[in-house]
């Protein structure tokens, strides 16, 4: 079921792109990531809107009063919270449901890339069975050209420089940086010090780049390339939606002259 609905179509799409871009697997991964991001774009918009609504709720005076009033009674607080959601027309699942729907697609994409990079006989036999014979010709397709720039996309990436006895994991550094930058760019500063969502978001911004860097270091570089492409496209998507806080990464953008009578900083939050 999973194979027939997700993996097989993904593999065939990926290999179809690979074929039409002159059998370049690196370009195929980038274009395939772009395609998947475009298809899931409406879900992402919903997720952003849902998250924004939840963020705004933290500043809502009524919500702050309710929290104060029922801080010792969790059950009552939950009831009042739900009532407030209803009153303001907020769907508490609006931010996480699109993410949950996207998860199988992300896992499918991951598995499709891993499957297509078949580097052992049995992996190859499994891959051949996924290919639609009417769409692609196995004999001309196999083996895939897994070379892209200095990388073998089926192996963890290392750049070997003459004179150095070890390889430098360049792509790992790029994955860590792009993941960190993406996290920082889309984070919205919170005025409420008790805002748990903001605290969680800060923690994610710290752990996620390390986690992604670890994966990029240990797994096939085809996946690291996917992470980089996905991060960059993600930043672009957020920027197009006007949800990027450049001041989070480039603090000098925040150093605008303060208006007379105001001591606060101007935020670029949108």
């Amino acid at each position: 079921m999973w194979d027939a609905l997700i993996i097989t179509p993904f593999i065939n799409t990926l290999l179809f792109i690979y074929n039409i871009v002159g059998q370049n697997f690196g370009i195929a991964i980038i274009l395939f990531t772009l395609l998947i991001r475009l298809i899931t774009h409406p879900l992402m918009v919903k997720q952003i809107k849902g998250a924004q609504a939840m963020q705004e709720l933290q500043k809502n005076e009524k919500w702050i009063k309710i929290q104060e009033k029922y801080k010792g009674d969790r059950e009552k607080l939950a009831q009042e919270q739900m009532a407030l959601y209803k009153e303001l027309g907020i769907n508490p699942f609006a931010s996480c449901l699109p993410t949950l729907i996207q998860l199988p697609i992300i896992f499918g994409l991951y598995q499709a890339i891993i499957s297509a990079l078949a580097s052992t006989p049995l992996d190859l036999l499994r891959l051949i069975r996924h290919i639609y014979p009417g769409l692609l010709q196995v004999e001309s397709l196999i083996p895939l050209n897994s070379r892209f720039l200095w990388m073998d996309l089926g192996q963890p990436e290392r750049l070997f420089i003459p004179g150095l006895s070890f390889g430098i994991p360049v792509l790992v550094v790029v994955v860590v940086i792009t993941t960190y930058v993406q996290g920082k760019l889309i984070a919205t500063p919170s005025a409420n010090p008790k805002d748990q969502t903001a605290a969680m978001s800060n923690m994610m911004n710290l752990y996620m780049p390390i986690f992604m860097g670890y994966l990029a270091y240990t797994l096939a570089s085809g996946l690291a390339l996917y992470f980089v492409a996905s991060n960059l496209i993600g930043i672009l998507q957020y920027a197009m939606l006007g949800k990027v806080n450049w001041g989070n990464v480039f603090p000098f953008l925040n150093k605008q002259p303060a208006p007379a009578g105001s001591g606060g900083k101007k935020s670029y939050s949108k």
Binding site: L124, A199, M203, T218
Partner: protein, 352 residues
């Protein structure tokens, strides 16, 4: 707050384990490589190479004693006083066949050793997935190396003067054994997974390709003597016996084919994907299937017996006197010894 932190770290760790395990070479990468010298059976599977007594299935030694990152799948090759086996960490090992003690290692290759090496006289010919065929002396020093276009997954064959190497780059190469110079190369129209079969007397090389072709190639000049296209995919090496080639396809048909012109002598449906090289004995041929069966037939295609194992078979059994050693992928057990009529003799259980 503290709980959230723990939950997040837990989720990351779980994700890391899930994703990294999906990418790591597990048991699904390949099948057990089996060879024998009559007294001992040598098996490369997963994290160890095992030496097992052929008489009763007890273990003589295993290498390495403690499992590490190395994964072994290519059948070990016995060459006088050494056992050669490559791993999936780019290292070719020479072991003492009696004790399993490492004699030397060759570390200049850059990728997995998927195929077994071939030993011709005093030269070790070792194909690697880094596209190179390495020629080594018996003490592991590099004599020459030959580059092809893609990974090498097939064991080479040799007539003593030239070595014939099939590559995933759709080509077969004839290379001078002493100098490493190319004599000829031929584009066969598809990747070659299994080793070619050489008829040195006739000067013909038989091989199957992913383009569903069986080809007979003249070893003198690389010209095609004949070729034959099949309906089903071919994941097999043809077995040569008495002017016939025995093989099967992934659609579940087995064939006896004339070596003269590729004409079909007989076919039988077995309704299971036939994978790997059939084993030919004097009066019978045994086909391995992906569904885990051994199907024995007379040389004229009459079914004698069949036997199903738990797991999958990707290569034919190894004949050891009047017994068959069967390497099984993805099952509870990975090595069984059966009689010539398929009855269990022993099962190897590796010690913990």
């Amino acid at each position: 707050m503290k709980n959230t932190k723990i939950l997040l770290i837990g989720l990351f760790l779980l994700g890391a384990v899930l994703l990294t395990s999906c990418g790591a070479p597990l048991s699904g990468s390949s099948w057990p490589g089996v060879s024998s010298n009559g007294d001992a059976v040598y098996v490369a599977y997963m994290q160890h190479v095992y030496a097992i007594r052929a008489a009763d299935g007890s273990m003589i030694w295993r290498f390495p004693e403690k499992a590490g990152r190395q994964m072994f799948f290519a059948a070990p090759v016995l060459a006088d006083d050494q056992l050669l086996v490559g791993d999936y960490e780019n290292v070719l090992h020479s072991l003492d066949p009696n004790s399993g003690v490492e004699k030397w290692i060759f570390t200049q290759a850059q990728a997995d050793w998927i195929a077994s090496p071939l030993v011709v006289g005093d030269v070790i010919l070792a194909p690697n997935a880094d596209h190179f065929l390495y020629a080594l002396s018996k003490n592991g020093s590099l004599l020459w190396k030959f580059e092809t276009g893609r990974a090498l997954w097939a064991q080479p064959v040799s007539d003593g003067e030239f070595v014939y190497q099939a590559s995933m780059d759709h080509k077969v190469y004839a290379i001078n054994l002493r100098t490493g110079q190319e004599l000829w190369s031929l584009d066969v129209g598809g990747a070659v997974i299994y080793s070619p079969t050489l008829d040195a007397e006739e000067g013909t090389l038989y091989l199957t390709t992913l383009a569903r072709n069986l080809m007979a190639i003249n070893t003198q000049d690389g010209s095609i003597r004949w070729q034959r296209q099949f309906e089903g995919g071919l994941w097999t090496q043809p077995a040569l016996h008495d002017g016939r080639l025995y093989m099967g396809d992934l659609q579940g048909t087995v064939y006896a084919i004339s070596t003269k012109d590729g004409a079909e002598i007989w076919t039988q449906k077995v309704d299971q994907p036939v994978t790997g090289k059939p084993t030919v004995l004097d009066s019978r041929v045994i086909f391995p299937t992906e569904d885990g069966s051994l199907i024995a037939m007379t040389l004229e295609g009459e079914r004698l017996w069949s036997r199903t194992f738990e797991g999958k078979l990707y290569t034919g059994p190894v004949v050891i006197g009047d017994r068959l050693a069967v390497g099984i992928a993805g099952g509870k057990e990975f090595l069984k010894m059966v009689s010539l009529d398929g009855q269990d003799l022993w099962t190897f259980v590796p010690p913990k």
